[in-house]
């Protein structure tokens, strides 16, 4: 028992890193994904194609590779080359990657809103921005919640990839202890932490779904 308490502190610190990466990524990738979705649906076809290309690139290569590229290769890229510390590099990679997935979810959600909603908005005098903000996006939210719940749960586990930048997330902290003490119990504790976090996420999404279910 006291051994568990001993390893709890480093594991909690790892959890903190995991949560930081998770929250910051969500905070940045959701608006970016929404912007990408709107651009993708824009009447300017070249903008849509540009976003499609971006989504292809981000979904078509491993997140770990993107992270390694941003951390190790970006400094040598002409013009935009900057050297980022490990944490910002990880956040940047996660945000760019997850925004692509979010963009596709948002796009599907926006497209599932009936054309009649746009027509009703138009004849009532709403502008495009007003139609989006007041009519379409609120309806989109309801339809994207299940896939978004999926994606956020994946994100919380994907955060363990930051170990490649030598950052101490929950899983790496656990592995460190395992290698030091020759016991696998830290893995069990880490698994419990992950499960707890996904439980909270699942619960939060269920609450949101219930909230938007009032107009079913």
């Amino acid at each position: 028992m006291s051994y568990l308490l001993d390893i709890l502190s480093p594991l909690l610190q790892g959890t903190l890193v995991t949560l930081q990466v998770f929250l910051l990524t969500m905070l940045l990738a959701v608006p970016l994904g929404l912007g990408l979705a709107l651009l993708r649906l824009s009447r300017r076809a070249w903008l849509g194609r540009l976003v499609s290309g971006y989504v292809w690139l981000m979904r078509g290569t491993p997140l770990m590779l993107q992270m390694l590229f941003i951390y190790f290769a970006l400094p040598f890229v002409p013009v935009i080359g900057i050297r980022l510390p490990d944490f910002p590099a990880a956040i940047l990679a996660f945000t760019l990657n997850y925004a692509a997935y979010f963009a596709e979810i948002f796009r599907a959600g926006i497209q599932s809103v009936d054309r009649g909603q746009y027509e009703a908005s138009k004849v009532l005098g709403l502008s495009y921005v007003q139609t989006m903000r007041r009519i379409v996006l609120p309806q989109m939210v309801k339809r994207i919640l299940p896939p978004m719940s999926n994606e956020t749960i994946t994100l919380i586990k994907d955060t363990s990839l930051i170990y490649v930048l030598a950052m101490n997330d929950l899983l790496r902290a656990a592995r460190g202890i395992v290698q030091r003490d020759f016991t696998t119990s830290p893995f069990v504790v880490a698994a419990a932490f992950y499960l707890l976090m996904t439980l909270v996420l699942t619960w939060a999404f269920q609450r949101m779904e219930k909230k938007v279910a009032v107009y079913d």
């Binding site: 138009k122 009532l124 005098g125």
Partner: protein
């Protein structure tokens, strides 16, 4: 109120309007009838800029919405002017198109608040009065999904009226309803007609056209075949196509 001159419109290969001219005076109730695919809904949608025409001219209350020059090029007014002109018209759709995420009352209030910039409190009296008028005041806090088709359409009418339009366009307002629910919607429309609301109604309800319309327009094949008072058009149709259409209904 509305003057449309020689409207032409096609969807790809399909020509839907081939030279439709059409006028609506203040206080008139014009029923547009005709077989499916005759272009009557498209005509209505062109008037309120849900579709664009390729040739012809439309004037709303004496101001041009779109015109065609001597070379046959069609020119729409700038967006701000289009918005202002179309803002004088309201529209009721076949499939209601209520905002499902908003309550009945919020459906009515949304546009006046968002578009006209009025405060909720300023709009509330009118919205409540309109809901009483269409007999749905007790449903004001319900979501559209809880309403019957007839109730939805009456809310849609109230929503259009909440913007205080000068002209109301109806695109087959009862076609999506069960037969027993059309009556309540038609009664609401009849009440509006009695208040001298200017209305253009695309409909398959011949009874409504006959009893409520001040003028009936019969369209077929993208053209106005015949127009006149209900007595003229139903009692003594001049054109063979009109006669054939009316005979088919009986």
């Amino acid at each position: 109120m509305i003057r449309a001159i020689d409207l032409h419109k096609r969807f790809g290969e399909l020509i839907v309007l081939r030279g439709v001219s059409f006028e609506v005076a203040r206080g008139e109730v014009v029923a547009v009838i005709g077989p499916s695919g005759s272009g009557k809904s498209t005509l209505l949608r062109c008037l309120i800029h849900l579709e664009t025409i390729e040739r012809g001219a439309i004037e709303i209350q004496g101001r041009p919405l779109v015109s065609t020059d001597a070379h046959g090029h069609c020119h729409y007014q700038p967006d701000a002017e289009i918005r202002q002109l179309c803002g004088r018209m309201g529209m009721v759709f076949q499939h209601f198109n209520l905002f499902p995420h908003l309550t009945v009352l919020q459906n009515l209030i949304e546009a006046p608040v968002t578009v006209k910039g009025l405060s909720r409190d300023a709009v509330l009296p009118l919205a409540e009065e309109l809901l009483r008028k269409v007999g749905l005041f007790d449903k004001r806090d319900s979501y559209p999904s809880r309403l019957s088709g007839g109730q939805k359409q009456r809310v849609a009418i109230a929503r259009a009226l909440a913007m205080q339009p000068d002209i109301l366009l109806f695109d087959e307002p009862t076609s999506a309803l069960d037969p027993e629910l059309t009556g309540e919607v038609l009664r609401t429309m009849r009440a509006l007609a009695e208040e001298h609301m200017t209305m253009v109604v695309v409909t398959h309800e011949m009874g409504f056209a006959r009893e409520v319309a001040s003028r009936v327009v019969f369209m077929d094949g993208g053209q106005v075949v015949e127009a006149g008072t209900p007595q003229q058009l139903f009692g003594a149709p001049q054109q063979p196509r009109t006669r054939a259409f009316l005979a088919n209904l009986l």
